[in-house]
């Protein structure tokens, strides 16, 4: 009870500070705000993105070019936040080496359609849909430059396909396809890919995540195309981490950290 009182006080104070901070913001869509009108003597930043981002990066989707290039440092730590959330879930929920607490509720089925006849419809539907969903997820990841999408969205769709397998059959058959060691590895590899692009730029004597200098390695026509291709690489890294962590969160939450049976 007392902890709830303290939690409420903390929430009210934090919310009050945040609301107080909001009052300093310019109005929504205000044409005279610094972001839209610029400071005296300089063009505004949004004007710059709209007019120059295609020439800088050869990426038609301005959102992606801002997200993965102009503020790539921020996006890298957004990915790290997701990674940290997954690690927190892992640290809090995961129970290791306790087999006695719960017996498996169902006999493990070897395929989607075996066993319980009422699962045939759902199993068959999922077996038909999962490849399509995964293909679409890869499209969303790879096409983030040209249409809405990118690493975060595609990663979530890819993770959803594994969650559907876990829902349609049981958690074990999803874990057979993406095991715990593998998803933890994939989550780390994703961030390493992202940070690796940044460090590579530093190795080539430029700033962290300044993709233009990667042109000799990527063998592109110019620094602009190098930036475009590096964005794709970075998005793939994001997708790795998001896929692994989303599935890890589902697996741990649905089985109370035992990674058995699931829902």
């Amino acid at each position: 009870m007392l902890s709830k009182v303290f939690a409420t006080i903390a929430v009210v104070i934090t919310g009050g500070i945040l609301l107080y901070g909001v009052s300093d913001f310019p109005g929504f869509g205000d044409p005279h705000s610094p972001a839209n009108a610029g400071v005296p003597g300089q063009a505004s930043i949004s004007q710059y993105f709209i007019t120059e981002s295609y020439g800088d990066t050869k990426v038609p989707n301005i959102v992606t070019s801002v997200l993965a290039d102009y503020r790539g440092y921020d996006t890298m730590f957004e990915t790290v936040v997701i990674f940290a959330a997954g690690m927190a879930i892992f640290a809090i929920l995961r129970v290791v080496g306790d087999d006695s607490e719960r017996k498996p509720r169902r006999k493990q089925e070897s395929s989607f359609t075996n066993g319980d006849h009422s699962r045939i419809i759902i199993g068959t539907t999922c077996r038909l849909l999962v490849p399509v969903i995964q293909l679409f997820a890869l499209y969303v990841i790879a096409h983030g430059h040209h249409s809405p999408g990118g690493g975060f969205q595609g990663g979530v769709i890819l993770a959803a396909s594994f969650i559907i397998i876990a829902l349609a059959e049981n958690l074990n058959s999803a874990l057979k396809r993406l095991s715990e060691t593998n998803y933890l590895k994939i989550a780390c590899i994703g961030i390493l890919i992202y940070a690796g692009f940044g460090v590579m730029c530093q190795v080539l004597e430029s700033d962290f995540l300044d993709y233009g200098v990667l042109q000799p390695i990527l063998m592109t026509d110019g620094p602009e195309m190098a930036r475009s291709h590096s964005m794709l690489g970075v998005e793939i890294g994001v997708a790795f981490t998001v896929t692994a962590i989303m599935f890890a969160i589902y697996a741990n939450l649905s089985s109370r950290g035992l990674l058995r049976d699931g829902l």
Binding site: S118, I121, I122, T125, L128, L129, V132
Partner: protein
């Protein structure tokens, strides 16, 4: 012109079935019949509306050499309708199955035959 009329007819039919699904969702007596109305009506009406969109795309179609991107749009719309055709009924089925496993009692009117204790009713 005729293409527009056909597509409008499709879309209006779809909206009619949407109305039926919505009325059924509110007016039917128990969980199973309501889910039935939502599942059946939703699937058919979404299919009809998307088919109407697909037919409407044919409005600007004059020949394969110039207008093949329109066929691509139609293909995508048909893929969406196929997806709905697969997912919507099976999600309704999953919902009903979950309700049945959770022992939600169907409402049976007076004088109606009760098959709940027959062989087919057991699981």
């Amino acid at each position: 012109m005729i293409v527009t009329i056909i597509s409008v007819i499709f879309i209006l039919l779809g909206l009619l079935f949407f109305l039926g699904a919505a009325v059924g969702l509110i007016r039917f007596p128990d969980f199973y019949t309501r889910t039935h109305a939502a599942g059946k009506g939703d699937t058919l009406s979404s299919l009809l509306v998307i088919l109407g969109f697909a037919v409407y795309q044919l409005k600007d179609f004059h020949g394969f050499s110039h207008d093949w991107p329109i066929l691509l749009v139609i293909l995508k719309l048909l893929a969406v309708s196929l997806f709905i055709f697969l997912t919507s009924p099976s999600s309704t089925h999953a919902l009903m199955d979950a309700g049945w496993e959770d022992k939600v009692e169907p409402e049976i009117g007076k004088g109606r035959p009760n098959h709940l204790n027959d062989d087919c009713g057991k699981f």
